[in-house]
Structure formats: structure tokens, C-alpha cells
């Protein structure tokens, strides 16, 4: 491949690619994102390849391994173009039928279509599925249309058009002004206006300047950055190059977790391709602008996602945060001005340049413009990646897109913002989701994690889980985070075991406030959120635990299993499934659980066909206050 030395050459190449591509040709596009990959999508790909070969169709049909489509609950997902038929939970053995029915005869395979749970109606077209229909897929949209390993796919879909516009028609200042006008806020957590950050780095006197993509996504259950980096790496690179041009940086880094091997592979591949095409390197498209990108692999510490810790890691030090009273935008990597933005933030940039700030700002709310990708997980029917305009309500996300709560359960709370976000109670379901509204109710946007919890969730247990997670991810540098989280975790463990007293809760609250005020970095400062928000909205659950009861019947120390003799049919199923032989009983006699031996695993309850196993809560409080 020859390097493009001008924008014109690239445009001519794009035109050639688009002419070559026959939009009417059948294309089997198979999601190869992380979720579908885990559901063995590779085997589905192999099955299709084999069948196509068998039936001599290889030349008639295109096959594409695409990035994550987002509907991970129903993976592996296969979409047949140009019909736009969407098949869910496809197995390798389905390949023959799909080829026979759809590819040969143009008919949908009914049994593989998505079924709307409420109406039990089959939905044929991908675009008609409520999960997709109610989203605004700006950033994620191209994931399902392109092969992430092919720069030609990206170029054919108008890729690098924004870069051409930037380099040929705009001054760095104009690019900056456009991003500022769009009011793009950082998608990584803090929501700091990206344009202002760019401007600070641009105006900082020191040289050289650096730009960084933060792909050190580590929140449990969150994978939107991963899916973008794996599924459409060129969109992030394009944003980064445009940003570097505006800021005046000639070197950039992509900091990506070692645990994301596919993201590393696809990013490195994308950089190599962009270099070959002359979109990176010296004199990009003949504009005189030079820019190179290096991939830096993270070594696995959650805290390294914090900007100053990430920069320490790039320098080769331990990834530990530094005090940031002088912003990293002024003094970052090797004390040089460094502009760091999250994956999703950079991916927004080409859209702003192509369509203008006004268009971008027309989506979302005045202070939170554009769309946001959430990873919708937990007790919700359609788990997956969801992209929506900001300002949409939680109710729309959970019920219209997410399909509601499974098994007819009631929603209890939504946890947003990752481990250090807060739990928002059901009463705020109509809250418009944007940076400020989430903050006002004691949670945060974070990087976009959204965990839906039903009535069977214990909020004390949730707070305990997140504080434990953060305590083990604390770097240990500052005292409030290291020791404060250790003590918060201890108190919460006591509460969940019914060993705590009123004064412990007061101390917990006091400690949480101090950690929030005094920790060195954002990890520590936001770590008390799960505690403070659950204390604020679910205080009654804490009080119940003090009395020795766990209302959701989750905390093992406070629950008991027993068998209702009236319902027990003495089938022996529970007895067989008890791992500790705590259940005794004979034929035709109701069984019994020995609570001394019971480890409260819940197996008996799960296997009983007669609802004879009862879970109760409440225990006599015997522990005395010791200190």
C-alpha cells in the first residue's frame, strides 16, 4: 500500500472503495466482541465458513467479524445484510439453516429471531428490536458495520473525513473552538470540559506536549471503552490525531490494560495501518503536521486509571497518584503539558468536526451534550452496551431499552458510576441522566457503569462489596484511603454480620465524610459514595441489620433456612444437593435442616420443587460491644 500524501488521494481512494463495495451483496456479519466471543462466536464463524465452502457460496457472500453490537445478553449475534435480519443466540449448528433459508431464499429463520418478552412477538429486523430502536448509536453505531482490523472498512464508512477537514480547512484554534462550543465533557468520570483541558495544554508554555487515550477501564461490569477500542479503534485514533493537531502535540499514547488483549491487538494493528496510509507519522496527508502514537500496556492496577497515576506508569514508575494542584494539563508526563481524555471522549471528536458543534450540542442537555454509552448490567432483561442521548431518564434506559426487571421483581436501586458511584433509589427513576443530575443525588456518571438491582438486593451488602473492592484497589499511599477504607470495610462487615451498633454507623458516616474530604486522589475521594448514598436512601436497611435482620435475606450471618413440614414431600432432592450434609430425613417424613451445620448456600431452596424451603431472617443478638 502506498502512503497518501494528500487529502485528495485519500478521498479518491475512499471513492474507489465505495464503488467497489456492492451494497446489495449478501453479508453475514457476526459479532466478535468480548461478550459474543465468550459465547463462542468464533465457532459460529467457522461453521459459516465451512457451510459456505460446502455449498460453493464463498464468492457470493461476504463474511465479517465485527466489533461489539452491544446486545451481549443475546449473543452470539448474527446480522444478515442487506436484509437486516438479526439472529440471536446463534449456535454453530444453525449456520446451515441460515444459509439455506435466508441466504438462498431470502426468508428469515423464525426460531432464531429476537422474541419480545412481553408480547412474545418475533422481531425480524435488527432496527425494530426495542433494545436498538430506543438508542441513539452515534459512537457505537459503526461497531456493527465494520471489521475492526480493516482500515478500509473505516475509510469506506467516511472514516478519517474529519481528519481531512481538520488538516485542510481548519486552524488548530478553530478545532479547539469547535470542541469548546460543542461543550464536550470528559466521558471518563469527572466530566471536565474537554475543550478547556485542551486549551490549558495548548497554552501551557512548556514543550513538547503530549496527548493520551485513557483505556484503563477497570470498573466491575463496565466494558464500553473496551468495546470501542476493540470494535472501532480508528475512530478513537482519528479523534486523538485531531486533538493533537489542535493542542500542538506530536506524540501520543494509548494506555490500555494488559487484560484487554484484543483491544491491545486491534489498537496496535490500527496504528500500524494508519502509519502505512500516512495518517500517522511525518507530514500527515501533506499538511506538515507530524504525529505518532505509542501503545502503553497497563499492568493491572485499578488506580492507574487515575490520570496522574497513569502518567507515572507511562514514565515507568509505579502507578500511584500525585497531588494535582498544578494540573496534569500543565505538568503531566515528564512534567510536560499532557492532555488526557477517555476513549469515548476522543471518539466523539470526529463527529463534532464532521457535523459541527451546534449539531452535537443539540443532543443531550445544555450542560451535558451528546450521547453517553452505559454498560447496563445487573437485574435487567437486556444487559449490554447502551448509547443514549444525555438527559434520558433512568426509567427509559431500564424499561424501554433494558426491557425491565426479570422474573416480575421490583426495582430497588440503580448503581451508577462504577464502584465509587452511588446507589440511586427507585423514587428517582424519572431523573434525567446527565453529569450534574447524577451528582446532585449523590452518585456520578463515572465512566458509565449502570447496575440495576432488584428487591432481592441488600444495600448494606452492596456497600460492603464496593468498599472491599476499593480497599483492595487502593494504592496505599495516603492514610485516609488506605486506613480509612480498611476501617469502613470492617464496620460494614460487622453490620452485615449483625455485630454492629448504632455508634458504629455514626462512626462509619463520620469516617466516610473525612475520607471524601481528605483523600489524595479521586479513588479515595469518591470511595465513600456507595456508603454515603446507601446511608442516605436506605438507612432503614442499616437499622434492620443492627437489629439482626437482613430485609433482602442476603447477609448470610443473618439468615436461616428451614423446611416447612406441611409442604415437604420428602423427595430427598435437597438432601442430595446439600454440600455439607446438614439436611436429614427419611422417606415419607418431612426433612429437617440442622442450622448448626448449614452454610447457607441456598442450594436446597433452589432445587426444591414444592417451595418447602423457607428463608428467614432475624437472629438473637448475642454479641456484646467489644473495643
Amino acid at each position: 500500500m502506498t502512503k497518501f500524501s494528500s487529502a485528495k488521494e485519500l478521498e479518491q481512494y475512499r471513492q474507489k472503495l465505495q464503488e467497489q463495495r456492492d451494497t446489495k451483496k449478501t453479508c453475514i456479519s457476526i459479532c466478535s466482541g468480548t461478550g459474543c466471543h465468550a459465547y463462542a462466536s468464533e465457532k459460529v464463524v467457522a461453521a459459516f465458513e465451512e457451510q459456505l465452502k460446502k455449498q460453493n457460496l464463498t464468492n457470493m457472500v461476504d463474511m465479517k467479524r465485527t466489533g461489539c453490537h452491544g446486545f451481549c445478553e443475546k449473543g452470539p449475534i448474527v446480522v444478515i445484510h442487506p436484509h437486516n435480519y438479526c439472529y440471536v443466540k446463534v449456535k454453530p449448528e444453525d449456520a446451515a439453516e441460515i444459509i439455506d433459508q435466508t441466504i438462498q431464499r431470502g426468508k428469515p429463520v423464525e426460531r432464531l429471531l429476537y422474541t419480545e418478552p412481553k408480547t412474545e412477538k418475533k422481531i425480524t429486523l435488527e432496527t425494530d428490536i426495542p433494545f436498538y430502536k430506543n438508542q441513539t448509536r452515534l459512537i457505537l453505531g459503526n461497531n456493527r458495520k465494520l471489521d475492526p482490523k480493516s482500515i478500509d472498512d473505516y475509510i469506506a464508512l467516511s472514516g478519517y473525513k474529519a481528519l481531512i477537514k481538520t488538516l485542510t480547512k481548519m486552524t488548530p484554534q478553530q478545532v479547539l473552538d469547535e470542541v469548546k462550543k460543542a461543550n464536550l465533557r470528559g466521558r471518563g468520570g469527572g466530566g471536565f470540559p474537554a475543550g478547556r483541558k485542551w486549551e490549558t495544554t495548548k497554552n501551557a508554555p512548556a514543550e513538547p506536549k503530549y496527548v493520551i487515550v485513557n483505556c484503563d477501564e477497570g470498573d466491575p461490569g463496565a466494558y464500553m471503552d473496551r468495546s470501542l477500542m476493540e470494535g472501532n479503534p480508528h475512530s478513537v485514533l482519528e479523534g486523538l490525531i485531531i486533538g493533537a493537531y489542535a493542542i500542538g502535540a506530536h506524540e501520543g499514547f494509548v494506555y490500555v490494560r494488559q487484560e484487554y488483549p484484543l483491544a491491545v491487538e486491534n489498537t496496535e494493528n490500527a496504528i500500524r495501518q494508519a502509519e502505512e496510509y500516512g495518517l500517522l507519522g511525518k507530514n500527515i496527508l501533506g499538511s506538515g503536521f507530524d504525529f505518532t502514537i505509542k501503545v502503553h500496556r497497563g499492568a493491572g492496577a485499578f488506580v492507574s486509571g487515575e490520570s496522574s497515576a497513569l502518567m507515572s506508569a507511562i514514565e515507568g514508575h509505579v502507578g500511584e497518584p500525585r497531588p494535582k494542584y498544578i494540573h496534569t494539563a500543565v505538568s503531566g508526563v515528564w512534567n510536560k503539558p499532557t492532555c488526557l481524555n477517555n476513549v469515548e471522549t476522543w471518539a466523539n471528536v470526529p463527529f463534532i468536526i464532521n457535523n459541527g458543534a451546534q449539531w452535537f450540542a443539540s443532543m443531550g442537555t445544555p450542560n451535558s451534550t451528546g450521547t453517553k454509552i452505559f454498560s447496563l448490567v445487573g437485574n435487567v432483561n437486556n444487559t449490554g452496551l447502551v448509547e443514549v442521548p444525555m438527559g434520558i431518564t433512568l426509567r427509559e434506559i431500564i424499561y424501554d431499552i433494558g426491557g425491565g426487571i426479570p422474573n416480575g421483581k421490583r426495582l430497588k436501586a440503580v448503581q451508577t458510576g462504577g464502584p465509587s458511584g452511588g446507589c440511586i433509589p427507585e423514587k428517582y427513576l424519572d431523573l434525567p441522566v446527565d453529569f450534574d443530575e447524577l451528582y446532585n443525588v449523590g452518585s456520578m456518571m463515572g465512566s458509565g457503569g449502570m447496575i440495576v438491582m432488584d428487591e432481592d438486593t441488600c444495600m448494606v451488602d452492596i456497600a460492603r462489596y464496593f468498599v472491599n473492592f476499593l480497599s483492595s484497589e487502593s494504592c496505599g499511599k495516603c492514610i485516609p484511603c488506605r486506613e480509612g477504607l480498611r476501617q469502613m470495610s470492617r464496620i460494614l462487615n460487622d453490620v452485615s454480620q449483625g455485630k454492629a451498633f448504632e455508634e458504629d454507623i455514626e462512626l462509619l458516616e463520620e469516617l466516610a465524610e473525612v475520607v471524601q474530604m481528605s483523600a489524595l486522589c479521586a479513588l479515595g475521594q469518591s470511595a465513600p459514595n456507595p456508603v454515603l448514598s446507601t446511608l442516605k436512601y436506605f438507612r432503614d436497611e442499616y437499622d434492620a441489620h443492627l437489629r439482626g435482620e437482613c430485609p433482602a435475606k442476603v447477609c448470610k450471618a443473618l439468615i436461616n433456612y428451614s423446611i416447612d413440614p406441611a409442604k415437604c414431600k420428602a423427595c430427598g432432592l435437597c438432601l442430595k444437593n446439600c454440600p455439607v450434609e446438614a439436611i436429614t430425613g427419611e422417606k415419607k417424613k418431612p426433612h429437617k435442616i440442622n442450622s448448626e451445620l448449614c452454610i447457607k448456600c441456598g442450594n436446597c431452596l433452589d432445587v426444591c420443587k414444592f417451595n418447602a424451603v423457607i428463608k428467614t431472617t432475624g437472629k438473637q443478638k448475642t454479641a456484646k460491644k467489644v473495643n
Partner: protein
């Protein structure tokens, strides 16, 4: 060197540009407690005892005075309700690890002799992980013989593998240790002087 003018605890204070709030306060005779700061070393901001409240553009903010550079017109309060609350809790947190150490004096200033938090099992070290020894060895002596290992509550001080080659046996790390020459630092230094050195084992 340019001077800047600021107000600390209602007192007009003049300070050299490039210095920090902690140094400016000290010069004006206002004592701010700290465990991890040393004038010869780069600001570190780990102990958080030196947090103070600043007022800027009519907004109050808590900052670590050892890291915050002096600014013209800044109003600083070193004793506010929140500052006291932080120092009290920090003292209690450290007392829960060890009944002795440099934090005991600060705790006393706040009338605290006992912690409301549960004691850590086997409290054997008064070390607050202030990192003075680590940073002194690296920044002043340029030896990098002492380091941190582990993360979070497993963080501890250790010798860099092969430290016997780099350590000049100056023992200045002991002198700089506020916690009163904590035992394992002493042990480590002795170990270096008496080869063979036991290499640092990750499984420890």
C-alpha cells in the same frame, strides 16, 4: 525571587513564589502538623494531616498545604471545623495501627489518646508509610536502596533487591524516620551491613 502575599489564619504573610502553604505558614510562626513533609524533599501529600482550607473565588476548598503552591491574595485557614475533623480521624486511624509513633503527638494536640476504630491485628510497627526514608534515599542520596512494596493495606517498606550494592550505609534513613527509627528499618539497615543480604521475596 518574587514574593507573593497571602493571608493565613487572618495574618498577612509574605512568601517566596514557588514555595508551598506549609512553608509559608511555618515562616509566619503558624504550625501545621505533618508526617510526610520534609523541606529537602519533593512534596508528597500522603499523610493528609496538613490539610487546610483555602478560599478562592469565594469558594472554599480543602487542600494539602505541603503541595499547594502559594498564590497572591489567597486566604488560608489552618484551623477549621473540617480541618480538625480530618486530623482527629487521621489520628484515630493511625492509633488503630500503632499506639506509638509520630502521630501520637498530633493526636495529643487534639486530645485523643484512644481510637474508636478496631485495633489492627498484631500492631507491630509505628510506621505510617510516610515514605521519608524511601524518598530521602532516592532524592538526596540518589541510591534508591529503600522502596515501597505491596498495595493498599499490604503496603510496606522494603529493601530494593540488591540493595547491599547500592546502600552506602549512611544510616540517614534512620535519622530521618519520624516514627522513631522503626524497628524493621533498623533491621534492614543492619542486614545490609552484615551480608549476605536476604533478597526481597515477593511471596512474603
Amino acid at each position: 525571587m518574587t514574593n507573593v502575599f497571602l493571608t493565613i489564619d487572618g495574618k498577612a504573610v509574605q512568601a517566596e513564589e514557588g514555595t508551598n502553604l506549609l512553608q509559608a505558614a511555618k515562616k509566619a510562626g503558624i504550625n501545621i502538623p505533618t508526617l510526610c513533609h520534609h523541606d529537602k524533599l519533593e512534596p508528597y501529600g500522603a499523610c493528609r494531616f496538613c490539610m487546610v482550607e483555602i478560599e478562592k473565588n469565594n469558594r472554599k476548598k480543602l487542600v494539602a498545604s505541603c503541595c499547594y503552591p502559594v498564590e497572591n491574595g489567597l486566604t488560608v485557614n489552618t484551623k477549621t471545623e473540617n480541618v480538625d475533623k480530618i486530623r482527629r480521624i487521621l489520628s484515630e486511624l493511625l492509633l488503630s495501627i500503632s499506639p506509638s509513633g509520630a502521630h501520637v503527638d498530633i493526636a495529643k494536640q487534639y486530645g485523643i489518646t484512644e481510637s474508636r476504630f478496631k485495633q489492627t491485628e498484631n500492631p507491630d510497627s509505628p510506621c505510617s508509610l510516610c515514605g521519608l526514608c524511601v524518598r530521602y534515599c532516592a532524592e538526596i542520596k540518589k541510591k534508591h536502596a529503600v522502596c515501597f512494596v505491596g498495595r493498599g493495606i499490604d503496603r510496606t517498606i522494603a529493601l530494593v533487591p540488591g540493595a547491599s550494592d547500592t546502600c552506602s550505609s549512611c544510616r540517614e534513613c534512620l535519622d530521618i524516620c519520624d516514627a522513631g527509627k522503626i524497628t524493621y528499618l533498623v533491621d534492614m539497615v543492619q542486614e545490609i551491613s552484615c551480608p549476605p543480604l536476604r533478597p526481597f521475596d515477593r511471596s512474603d
